[in-house]
Symmetry: C2
Subunit: 235 residues, 2 copies
């Protein structure tokens, strides 16, 4: 085993989407023990949870926790309420403004739970697939946000105070979707088991028109990798 592989577990936030799956693949190269954490935040898209289970199995994780979190109690976002998901947004305008699919403080809530889990299981790192370039303009996907979370997390925890802070790892933070797909493909990721669409059909097929689908399709095309996604229509 390579000396660079950590013996401590890593907690990986796993939605079952393309980004978190690639982040898990990177974690797997650095840590032999992966504890996957999927937050079931009562999104209407429960197909994501099934995808997360497939991905966790694919990576043979030590433990996969599907953590129920009823954010519907708060309201305020397309992913938890009944606001229409925007369709066919031109690629050039994605990321320009904060979209209606923004869930208030989502990454902060997810990272905080991952931090608590990491300290409980003596993990030395938390992996999140956040990326700034091709994300949809969410404030909590930016490098400066992650840096601020790291500082806060170090002050927040017993391990941090004792000089061994849990590291927030963002292996995709500066990558484009194209680069993420190339990276994952080089690490052997099977993207056919992932799920990205905000508004899938009942059989799990992707709509092909929401911002997530638009970014994903374009990423595969630019990466020159066959897109294994099952879409409602053929593109």
């Amino acid at each position: 085993m390579s000396q660079t592989v950590s013996q401590s577990p890593a907690v990986v936030l796993l939605s079952g989407g393309l980004d978190s799956t690639t982040s898990a693949a990177v974690a797997k190269t650095r840590c032999s023990r992966i504890i996957a954490l999927t937050i079931d935040y009562s999104q209407r898209n429960s197909i994501e949870i099934e995808a997360a289970r497939r991905v966790a199995k694919f990576f043979q994780v030590e433990r996969h926790i599907v953590f129920p979190l009823n954010l519907r109690l708060f309201g305020g976002s397309a992913l938890t309420d009944d606001i229409d998901v925007p369709k066919d947004t031109p690629l050039t305008t994605i990321g320009g403004t904060i979209p209606v699919t923004y869930v208030p403080a989502r990454n902060t809530i997810f990272l905080s739970l991952a931090l608590g889990l990491a300290e409980s299981v003596h993990a030395d790192s938390v992996f999140i697939g956040a990326n700034a370039l091709d994300s949809s303009g969410y404030p909590d996907c930016r490098p400066e946000y992650i840096e601020a979370f790291q500082k806060m997390a170090t002050l927040a925890t017993k391990t941090g105070v004792e000089g061994k802070p849990i590291k927030i790892e963002t292996p995709l933070i500066t990558l484009t979707k194209k680069e993420i797909i190339k990276l994952g493909t080089s690490l052997g990721v099977d993207y056919s088991i992932t799920h990205t669409c905000y508004d899938p059909a009942k059989d799990g097929k992707a709509c092909g028109h929401c911002e997530s689908c638009v970014l994903r399709k374009n990423g595969f095309r630019e990466a020159g990798v066959d897109d294994p996604t099952r879409y409602v229509e053929n593109f």
Copy 2:
């Protein structure tokens, strides 16, 4: 109505204990609309939830959300597992080291949820009853931690990016238990409805010996205020 009273709601983290109740009393002087958030983190001490409901009623809050959060799925603390709660720790040693009652990243998880709720309901502040001096040495009760959380929260949220960050309010952060009790008493708080004990009897009476009871009893004595707590024994 005083001009200093905000028309936006405030989210108040409310455990039903002495500190969070006093924090709610301060919030009430600054905001006419209070949304109370109680995190039910599957602690064995569910008597706290009943106390939180009493306190929410006392302050006539606009909305009281009891948010289920199964931290038992993570493990790792006396308040969620079956580790014995320490008893009769001398006052002089409380706060010297991080105790076994520490719940990993607890305030970070709670504040993150409160932040998400605050953004969802267009609140301009989040109140938390954290205090550094008489707390039990938890890292996430220190002013430097709260400052770091504030910086992170401003970068994390749509409101923060738009220049109207949600303010994390810690009205008790530098107060001793004595000062907290004096402040709450001056604001008309009825402490008999609050609950502090880590290890209460089945009828809800406080043990009088855990760190929380020791700090609370001492606070009332030093404040010169009659202690309305119902203890298992008479002290």
